[in-house]
Assembly symmetry: C2
Homo-oligomer: 271 residues x 2
């Protein structure tokens, strides 16, 4: 029986499997959906990747990722916008529920986070017409404030929703528990997001986190109240799967089958 | 000539010097103030520490630290409150401008951050009378969200100020640039804080941060717009020194004199 409520972000098993292998494994484990990364599509070839995914019957809960808009000069910003247009086309090709946008950090040498945030908003505005034309929804993912400098200058749901409010269009947000669990305004912002929640990512925050990037926990191993946040997200109107996204040196060393089996078990017991 | 606008949090030179040595070095370098830690007072003995500090003529811009209120049971919470009362007495003994409160994280095994936040507020309420009686101001320091689980569940200026609004009393906040620089609401919250800003800590966020605790940068080496934040803080009504607080394996390996000379140079050029 397929577990429709569970999707696997393929970064979670990137170390173990190619796209083709990961898709086959998700089908074998009865998982309902996947969220691949653009470099995984490229490594397989977009046409082959599209066919592998379509044949699998898996729901595509997102494509990771567009965004990364800020750049030191206009040429860099234009190149980022072009790259996002290609990402939109790829998301359309694999019938992804949304293209996930990670804003990008400060341009090299910059201390102007307000300026970077403006570049993000201008970048999203520039790609909205193409998103509309291709039917691809854009999902802004606020990342944890510890990534503000180097990866993503949109760090709260409130900020992501402010951008949605200003730009309108087929635009929404990702609620990834890792990035937002600490926010004292979380309950209110999830309610505010409502049906603009386009994806819900799960994992856990380990109490003693040792690495800023590769020490995410498996659901249940950390401090995040997963069921509580899930309920908020569902009450707000999101009815899609929970997507497991774990960047972790520790889980990268386990077999892919072990990782997926654990995801399923934790999905059933703690999510 | 003494640099009255500059204070050194003694954690910055903890690896190099005892309290006595650090105080002497600050005087030698012409620094205007210090902020010692309670364990440094204890290691020297409170009476000796008090005398060393008083004789130095240095301003005491704070005592680190009270707080750490959440605990798994009522006995643990009561013990934390007692400990904070002792901290208030020590702050009074050394005539510190304020006692810095770091809220504390989740009790062991807990996933209830809202509950922990309530314990913090109850804890502060419980020690306010003693603060009033001794003339010690309490300064809530919001810590970066990456410390929400294990160190401090008050992670934004807005939240710290909400607590101040509810409890009133001789209560204010610390603006440490490391913890708040990323906040899209920073300008508004600093203005809201106004004269409740009791301390202003400076350091820097390194673009490629490699450690959650011990990789703070020296002012100018990272991405924080220090002058801009300083201006906001001063316009809000804070007229005290900037206090350098750097936890860093890299700076711990430099000589104390080198660290202080660099603090002074950076204070003059980038702060």
């Amino acid at each position: 029986m397929r577990i429709d409520g569970l999707s696997i972000n393929l970064a979670t098993v990137r170390a173990q499997w190619s796209l083709r292998e990961a898709v086959a494994a998700c089908v074998r484990h009865g998982i309902g959906g996947i969220d691949p990364w653009r470099d995984q599509l490229a490594a397989t070839g977009l046409d082959d990747a599209r066919r592998i995914i379509a044949d699998s019957g898996l729901r595509v809960t997102g494509l990771c990722r567009g965004g990364l808009f800020p750049a030191a000069d206009p040429a860099g910003r234009a190149a980022a916008i072009d790259e996002n247009r290609r990402a939109i086309d790829e998301a359309a090709a694999i019938a992804a529920d949304c293209l996930i946008l990670v804003a990008g950090g400060l341009p090299a040498g910059s201390r102007d986070i307000a300026g970077a945030r403006l570049m993000v908003e201008e970048g999203i505005a520039a790609i909205l017409p193409q998103a509309r034309a291709t039917g691809v929804k854009l999902a802004i993912e606020p990342l944890h404030p510890m990534y503000a400098a180097d990866r993503c200058c949109v760090n709260t749901l409130a900020h992501a929703l402010d951008i949605c409010d200003r730009l309108r269009g087929d635009l929404g947000v990702v609620v990834d528990v890792y990035h937002v669990w600490w926010d004292p305004d979380l309950t209110r912002q999830i309610a505010r997001a409502g049906r603009r929640i386009l994806a819900h990512h799960v994992n856990d925050w380990l109490r003693s986190t040792t690495d800023l990037l590769f020490d995410r926990g498996m659901m249940g191993d950390g401090v995040i109240p997963l069921r509580q946040i899930r309920k908020l997200v569902e009450v707000a109107g999101y009815g899609g799967p929970q997507e497991v996204e774990i960047f972790s040196h520790a889980w990268s060393r386990r077999s892919g089958d072990d990782v997926l089996a654990t995801c399923i078990e934790r999905f059933r017991t703690v999510c």
